[in-house]
């Protein structure tokens, strides 16, 4: 049975293939953009008659101050379904996390917009990732 820490670490390893993007497998108090943070949303137990489990994660990518045009251009690259900076491509680049899980998929990017951190408005996007164990 995969440990949650191993799943987080595996997703972080996949994200780290994006050049220039800082990655944390936990929520940071003071993130320094551009940064991707991995947060567990919920767990769906009893997916089969043994230990089958579905983990749902949110990856929040904070690209920079909302007013900066380069932040918006960077976000365009992160949310793209293809390309070297695509979060989807990076996370799905090793879908079993080297055998830690059965499969994973980036399901959607449901939220994009500004967030407040330490009195600064940042541009950020959330990605939902389903992990099957």
């Amino acid at each position: 049975m995969a440990a949650l820490a191993d799943i987080r670490a595996g997703i972080a390893t996949n994200l780290a293939t994006i050049s220039g993007l800082r990655v944390s497998d936990e929520i940071l108090d003071n993130p320094q953009p551009p940064v991707a943070m991995i947060a567990l949303n919920n767990i769906e137990y009893h997916q089969d008659m043994r230990l089958g489990t579905k983990y749902n994660f949110t990856i929040q990518v904070i690209v920079g101050r909302a007013a900066e045009r380069h932040a918006q251009r960077a976000l365009d690259l992160y949310v793209n379904p293809v390309g070297n900076s695509s979060v989807k491509v990076a996370v799905e680049s090793n879908r079993t996390l080297d055998g830690v899980v059965d499969d994973l998929v980036v399901e959607s990017m449901p939220d994009v917009g500004s967030i407040q951190l330490n009195d600064t408005t940042y541009l950020a996007a959330d990605f939902l990732v389903a992990v099957y164990v």
Binding site: Q47, D48, M49, R50, L51, G52, D102, V105, E107, Y132
Partner: protein, 137 residues
């Protein structure tokens, strides 16, 4: 024993435990209705039990790993297989977790299924052949 939530129905196929790929398990045992209505039935139909039959329905998560469930089914279509199920989340036959054993005709398999983005699954319903037995020890 008390009411229970099904979380661990043990299912085997030809002696292999496939529970880890099973999301739903169902065994149905039926008896045919034989009509014995006559002029003495006072205006009501009367029936008695006829031949018994059964079916096994299972929902699976696809897995083509070596000896995994999808690979296992590929070569079994058209054959008679032995399915056992232990009720009530049991791991061994007992009075409160009876084990049912059925010979089934493996008459279908869906090797490709699933919508884009969804977990790949498949479902089967097999008719039983012969007696469905159960054991409590």
């Amino acid at each position: 024993m008390a009411k229970f939530v099904a979380t661990g129905t043990q299912v085997t196929l030809n002696g292999t435990d496939i529970s880890g790929s099973v999301a739903r398990a169902e065994l149905v045992i039926n008896a045919a209705e034989v009509d014995v209505t006559d002029f003495g039935s006072s205006g009501w139909t009367e029936v008695i039990g006829g031949l018994k039959s059964g079916s096994v329905s299972l929902d699976f998560h696809h897995d083509y790993g070596a000896s995994a469930v999808s690979a296992t089914f590929q070569d079994l279509v058209g054959t008679i297989g032995t399915v056992t199920m232990i009720a009530a989340n049991g791991t061994a036959a007992s009075a409160t977790t009876p084990q049912y054993t059925a010979e089934v005709l493996i008459n279908s398999f869906t090797p490709i299924s699933g919508a884009v983005g969804d977990l790949a699954t498949f479902s089967v319903t097999f008719p039983t052949t012969g007696e469905v037995s159960y054991a409590t020890a």
